[in-house]
């Protein structure tokens, strides 16, 4: 193998501004000017009202330092979002029909502050941060995504679950008008996912509203999606309209579809193969290469304690 050493000051392909972003520079200036004009009515440009592609205000964090993000093009055109079709390219092609604004999230179950929350209210006074996480799909590939969002625990604290809340159940919008893929029953709609409460309040668990510094594109789960970086991608439910705090373990859509293949936990684990394929390695999106899959997607130190004493082969 040829090992090239690179001098520190040398620019590489990585440093080149993505062409898409470069081309948007004027529209950015225009929208920035428009935003400046709106400064008198601040809520108008809160993330809750922002449209896909608008810049978000956020602070950088150390999460994912050293990871090289996958190109914006691949992150936004290679998606599993069956609500818009089952092929990887379908979501980018069909997600225009989704209307992520206005948006509200229903909160119910074992919680002190149930109700229907407008997205603006959820995001009001909520500081956003960027976290670069590797997303490992159960299909055997991974990509690195610079998310913008906030820890789910921030929201959970405000909603005040009762002591009976042992699990959190999430649901995606169910509206075949906006989500044409729902006209066929590929999965049991609405898409449902769940977390144990200790997983939900874990500081790594994120609610994302953007990526690459901009408001989430529809195909990536606008306007609000879950990111649990130590679990397979399908746990990261998109376009969330309902959050329920429950006593019993929820049944996720993929669990219902194929219980022997997709479990409730779905923790990334190279030692536990999918019944039909190996999980030992993963294809790196945007390249020909593979990398070794890491236990809990590299977060073993932070999350292994959640599963102490559990048989991960049985609780897949």
């Amino acid at each position: 193998m040829l090992i090239k050493s690179r001098q520190n000051n040398q620019l590489t392909e990585n440093h080149v501004t993505d062409q898409g972003i470069y081309r948007q520079r004027r529209s950015f200036i225009t929208s920035a000017a428009a935003l400046a004009g709106m400064a008198a009515v601040p809520q108008l440009w809160l993330p809750g009202n922002a449209v896909a592609g608008a810049r978000l205000a956020f602070k950088k964090t150390g999460y994912g330092q050293g990871l090289k993000p996958t190109s914006r093009k691949h992150i936004t055109t290679y998606n599993n979002f069956y609500e818009f079709g089952t092929s990887k390219s379908a979501p980018a092609a069909n997600a225009k029909s989704l209307k992520p604004r206005p948006w509200s999230v229903a909160v119910d179950g074992e919680v002190e502050k149930p109700g229907t929350y407008a997205l603006e209210d959820i995001l009001k006074n909520q500081s956003l941060e960027e976290r670069i996480y590797r997303l490992r799909c159960v299909e055997g590939w991974s990509m690195v995504i610079p998310w913008v969002g906030f820890p789910l625990v921030d929201l959970i604290k405000r909603l005040k679950p009762t002591s009976k809340a042992k699990f959190v159940e999430f649901q995606t919008l169910h509206d075949p008008e906006q989500m044409p893929g729902q006209r066929r029953t590929v999965l049991a709609w609405p898409y449902t996912e769940g977390l144990r409460i200790d997983e939900a309040v874990h500081p790594l668990t994120l609610l994302a509203v953007g990526l690459y510094g901009e408001v989430l594109p529809n195909q990536n789960g606008a306007p609000l999606r879950l990111v649990v970086p130590w679990k397979y991608g399908f746990k990261n439910i998109k376009s969330i309209v309902r959050i329920r705090f429950v006593e019993k373990q929820p049944r996720s859509s993929w669990q219902a579809a194929a219980p022997h293949e997709y479990g409730f936990y779905a923790n990334v684990n190279p030692q536990v193969d999918h019944p039909r394929w190996s999980q030992k390695t993963e294809r790196v999106i945007g390249s020909f290469g593979r990398r070794k899959t890491e236990l809990f997607n590299g977060f073993a130190e932070q999350v292994a304690g959640l599963y102490r004493g559990m048989d991960l082969k049985k609780n897949y």
């Binding site: 691949h74 069956y82 590929v186 579809a257 039909r276 999106i285 390249s287 593979r290």
Partner: protein, 215 residues
């Protein structure tokens, strides 16, 4: 005749060239998965195209079609071979440098522990003798045994479709399309076969009693 065969040969190569081009220059998100799926699709398509030759001949009466069948069948074999080589040879061995003994372990686990690969690889193993006995010399040498041997292509087609059904995560539409085409091709053959036997029986009946063949 020879000219037409050359044209057909080049046409059959187009999917291979296109896939290779896309693999290298298409900026594909998941290039090796793309190449595996594309060549798998074409393998199945070529099996079905080969199987369509006889029904097409029966319907149109164009007997010369049979002359192109061998090449189509060999292309099916070619795409099946490329299909699994993309994963085992190109992806694992060449690009990702998996050593020989580890590779052997990968391949054997795949074949013996993953039913859809077991089925798909059996289809390849069954295609192998057909490809090897496709020459004129082998046809002559096998004589009457050649035809029954090559009838295993029906089984191969079924295995190919089952392989596809088994690997799909949820949406069964595409494998269903292949299955319906396969069923339609069988149906045409059955129809003509049945009609032939009926006609034979009728012709037999119209003969004077002494000349009739025993039923």
């Amino acid at each position: 005749m020879a000219k037409r065969k050359v044209v057909l040969f080049l046409v059959c190569l187009i999917p291979f060239i296109h896939t290779g081009w896309q693999l290298l220059y298409g900026d594909k998100a998941d290039p090796l998965a793309y190449a595996t799926h594309a060549t798998g699709d074409w393998a199945l398509r070529f099996i079905l195209i080969t199987l369509a030759v006889t029904p097409l001949r029966l319907i149109t009466g164009m007997t010369q079609l049979v002359r192109y069948r061998r090449m189509l069948g060999l292309f099916a074999f070619f795409y099946v071979t490329v299909h699994f080589s993309v994963y085992w040879v190109l992806d694992l061995a060449i690009i990702n440098g998996v050593g020989f003994s580890e590779l052997l372990q990968y391949v054997t686990t795949d074949i013996f522990k993953r039913p859809y690969i077991t089925v798909g690889f059996s289809a390849f193993l069954l295609l192998l003798p057909l490809a090897l006995t496709s020459t004129n010399r082998m046809m002559k040498r096998l004589g009457k045994k050649w035809k029954p041997l090559h009838r295993t292509v029906y089984l191969i087609a079924v295995l190919g479709v089952v392989h596809y059904f088994w690997l799909v995560k949820k949406d069964l539409r595409e494998p269903l399309i292949y299955l319906s085409i396969l069923i339609a091709l069988f149906a045409v053959r059955l129809f003509y076969h049945y009609r032939k036997t009926l006609r034979r029986a009728a012709a037999n009946k119209s003969l004077p009693e002494a000349q009739r063949k025993p039923a």
